[in-house]
């Protein structure tokens, strides 16, 4: 058995090596500067039909095809000599979840056996034509918090049989089903919930593959494709054995708490596997409320080891961000680890992209969905933020190569502790703002806007921001360029909890109905040609023609238009 121990790290190294090949190939090209934008106008045609998107790209009606997912599309695009496909590891996770409240899935041996018959390579090669990365830990490889040294479950049916035999699940040769040692009866039928073939053919097929492999080792598992809402409903009340779904995660691994802390094992909570483990609780608490980055890293690494042992999920694969660009038309798109080159979170592409023939002019940028609602308080889909993200701007920026924090609207900040009550500790974040930053209508951006935004969102209990802001006690503004946010708990992440997308106070202080407000439909009270969608970002919303296109124009008073002349 020595051989196997040897093999595992080899396989693992390979995955890592692949991950780095993908990225390093791109990194050479990374060239970006924190100044811009370099085009005068972005037209975003809204094209939902994937076939029509491909044609639009071919005809140059869009310079980018963001977020390529379907292998067929990738194969088609890569034949285009004018296409350049950027690949970046993402924070995406596709997983198989077990319901650990139900036998026999409460037995770790059964979960391990399923993990061992899950053939990630076959899934990736057959269903995704090789365009996915196997995922073997609970934090994707792209994250700085990824821990590669966790127990692995490579595809090995023999090993799976061995584990089950050892745990007492004897195979009944006549039926091909194993006997539950606790009851002495054959194992009950278990189901894997998957989305339907119509919605997600690959997920449905993947469920079938795993079920068949499990059946072959005597675990009676059946796939059951169902409508997405029905599936979510059942998962919410824990009426399932197994299901497959995906998470789009973030840079900060605080989701480990949300997914696996015992306090989240409640109806409609996200601890759907129902894992309750005191040691794990301690680790994920430290991930959720870390006093500093180092503690968070250590705790996340520990949590990943425990999770890989207990196995509430089998992590399957992670999708890299693939974006196709018309390299004959544009240049200056910036690949970014974890976010891809075309996503709105990557502000660097927004600033740096330019036409091949030089700065200025118009580029066309595909929107694959209707943005629908451009009210920042309720906009929740990525497509809405594809527009809003280019209008808004954050206090902190993220370095595209290292994912480290960079000063942006805040030229510096301090994270300290304070005493909300005698004997208790909380975090206090002090922001020092850049001077001379203006809203797109010419009003100065000050600490009053930060204070207003946080208090407005908190007062109205805006659902999207409840979790981020629930620990905020108060906001102080000693001067227009300093804001101090006090939290009742200690967490390094509080730094990020009030750092993005601010509301202009002079517009929003009169808004009574925050959810019904449609700022893009209302003209700006003072400046002609603007709407009430106002940010501090590089682009201004000029026009939104529902169903057809969005027109953004360059913000002529953007504070980072050009580097200061020396």
């Amino acid at each position: 058995m020595r051989a196997r121990k040897f093999l595992v790290p080899v396989a693992l190294l390979l995955v890592l090596a692949l991950a780095t090949t993908i990225v390093s190939a791109q990194e050479k090209k990374v060239k970006w500067e924190p100044w811009g934008p370099r085009v005068d106008q972005i037209i975003m045609p809204i094209i939902k039909d994937s076939e029509a998107q491909l044609i639009a790209f071919e005809r140059g009606e869009t310079v980018v095809l963001p977020g390529l997912v379907r292998p067929g599309d990738i194969n088609k695009v890569k034949q285009n000599p004018n296409a350049d496909i950027t690949v970046n590891l993402g924070f995406h996770m596709f997983y198989l979840c077990f319901n650990m409240r139900r036998g026999p899935l409460d037995d770790v041996a059964v979960r391990q056996a399923v993990a061992h018959v899950t053939n990630r390579e076959q899934i990736i090669n057959q269903l995704f034509q090789g365009y996915m990365l196997p995922l073997t830990s609970f934090v994707p490889q792209s994250s700085p918090f990824h821990n590669p040294n966790v127990p692995q479950y490579p595809y090995n049916p023999e090993k799976a049989k061995e584990i089950l035999d050892k745990a007492g699940y004897k195979l009944d040769k006549a039926t091909g089903v194993r006997i539950d040692p606790k009851t002495g009866k054959p194992l009950r039928k278990m189901k894997i919930f998957t989305p339907t073939y119509e919605v997600a053919p690959t997920s449905a097929e993947l469920g079938k593959m795993i079920a068949e492999a499990a059946k072959a080792i005597g675990l009676p598992v059946e796939p059951e494709p169902m409508d997405f809402p029905v599936m979510l409903e059942k998962i919410d009340v824990f009426d399932f054995d197994m299901y497959v779904l995906a998470w789009g995660l973030g840079r900060i691994p605080d989701y480990l708490y949300t997914f696996f802390h015992s306090s989240q094992d409640v109806e409609a909570g996200y601890n759907t596997p129902g894992i309750r483990d005191p040691e794990l609780d301690k680790a994920v608490e430290a991930v959720y409320y870390p006093p500093d980055l180092e503690t968070a890293k250590a705790a996340a690494a520990k949590a990943q080891v425990i999770l890989s042992q207990k196995l509430p999920y089998v992590t399957l694969y992670s999708r890299p961000y693939m974006d196709a660009w018309r390299k004959d038309l544009v240049t200056g798109y910036v690949p970014m680890l974890g976010y891809g080159a075309a996503q709105y979170n990557n502000g660097w592409t927004t600033l740096n992209i330019r036409r091949v023939q030089g700065p200025g002019g118009t580029i066309r940028w595909l929107l694959p969905e209707e943005p629908k609602n451009l009210n920042m308080c309720v906009a929740s889909s990525a497509y809405e933020w594809e527009v809003l993200g280019r209008i808004a701007d954050g206090l902190i920026a993220v370095n595209p190569e290292t994912l480290e924090d960079m000063p942006w609207l805040a030229k510096s900040w301090k994270v300290e502790t304070w005493e909300p009550e005698p004997g208790k500790k909380g975090t206090k974040v002090t922001w020092f703002l850049e001077k001379g930053v203006k809203w797109q209508d010419g009003e100065p951006f000050t600490s009053a806007d930060i204070k207003f935004t946080i208090e407005y969102l908190k007062k109205n209990e805006v659902p999207l921001y409840i979790s981020d802001l629930q620990d905020v006690v108060k906001v102080e503004t000693p001067d227009p360029y300093t804001a101090i946010v006090y939290f009742s708990t200690v967490s390094y992440w509080h730094l990020y909890h009030a750092a993005y997308s601010f509301l202009p106070k002079h517009i929003w202080e009169d808004v009574k109905d925050w959810k019904g407000f449609q700022p893009w439909l209302e003209p700006h009270p003072k400046v002609k040609g603007l709407t009430k969608v106002i940010g501090t970002g590089p682009f201004i919303l000029k026009e939104y023609k529902p169903g057809e296109y969005v027109r953004l124009i360059k913000n002529p008073i953007y504070w980072r238009l050009n580097p200061p002349k020396k």
Partner: protein
Amino acid sequence: MNGETVAGQAAVQPAPRRKRSGIADFWAQYRRRPYGLVGLVMLAMYIAVALAAPLLTPYDPRKTEFFLADRLAAPIWARFIIPRFRNAPPTSRYTIHPDQWKVERQERASLSFEEAGDRGETAVIRFEPSVEGGGGARSELSWKVHYGFNPPNTFEGKVTYRVEAPPDGMTRLSLVIVDPEGKEYDIWGTAVYGEQDWTTAALDSRDLQMKTRLNMTIFDDPAKVIFSTKGDYRLVLKASSESPSAEAKLFLAPAKFNILGILHGLLGADHMGADLWAQLVYGARISLIIGISAAVIGVALGTTIGIISGFLGGPVDEFLMRVADVFLSVPTLPVLIILSAFLGKNMWNIVLLVAAFSWMGSSRVVRSQTLSLKERAFVEAAKAAGASDAYIMVVHILPNVLPLVVANMVLMMPVAILYEASLSFLGLGDPRIPTWGRMLQNARAFGAFTELAWWWLVPPGLAITLLSLSFTFIGNTVNEVLNPRYRERS
């Protein structure tokens, strides 16, 4: 569609009661109408195809057999009419039996064959223990295959092996494809420390590991590069062993090597490499079942309601006809969309829903016929004899309205088929069964347009059209025979 249904119903006026002429008489009149005969012949063909589906195709789409060929493979005949498919490869599947391996080279190694239980015959390579100063044992086996087409997109394979060696032994295995010009492509390799039980290694030209091994990027296609010339290819299995303490053995079970075709079957393959001809053929079953059962249920419902309404009269009649009015006034397709999303995507739900929204026409026809029958002497007589209402309705009225509803039923079948196809096309069909609507939906959603794969789009659409047409022909002819007034009008 709503409007057309209404127009269709207007055509079926209650016929004056005629002497029941019997089936032979009906047939005698029917056979004289060419449209009716054409319709019957077409329908017979559909029924034959539906019944003989398992004979017409080796695949069963209900079992979702995928990757029979490359995704979006074109039909075999495309090579004769579409230039880009002129010399495209069909699928080739090879099983390399242990005795098909040819020894190319052996150093301190020997090859023999052995039975290994349920794995059948296996090839065994014995490696002598290695000696001091680096003297490992090695062996090279090769298998030849001829490739005579344009480059494929994908190849895949499987090598199943077992290693018996002392704990300090190390066995290396690799696979190399040698092209006709002698160029070598190192596609797979592994190292085994000590012993290892039976393991199957999957080779796949889409695999990132293989691409990395070949110094290719994620967007390169090894299959296209390797099989770029025509001629004899060799798959070479290289094995070597360093085993100081004892001899080592490598067991090889039959291996597999497949080249997925760009051409496949009569109609090509869909986005998952599943057979389209099989989907088309099995789709005939589903469409016939759905069309016929929805029409039968709908007309049965309509007849029942019509007889009850007409015979009982009064408030019952008023209520039932009001209900029929409501059903006539709702926009059918949107209601079906909403209800099928609500009830779940199940074929029988669709049948019941279509039936529930198509009984109104026949109920009206039957009702007016019943109204006139009610006044006839034989009904009066039955009443006087003390027969119950139910008895009269079943025994006296029903047989007299039946000929009327037959045409109605046949004419309803294409409507039901079209509704089902529309729902499936909109993504609300039963996901577990292959229907024509779903084929069209898949074609639209998964690349038929950019690939211009009209062979995916045209057959299911044409199948629906012709089936509807045959039902319409038959229905109209039946109507002409049973209701002569219809003939005068058209």
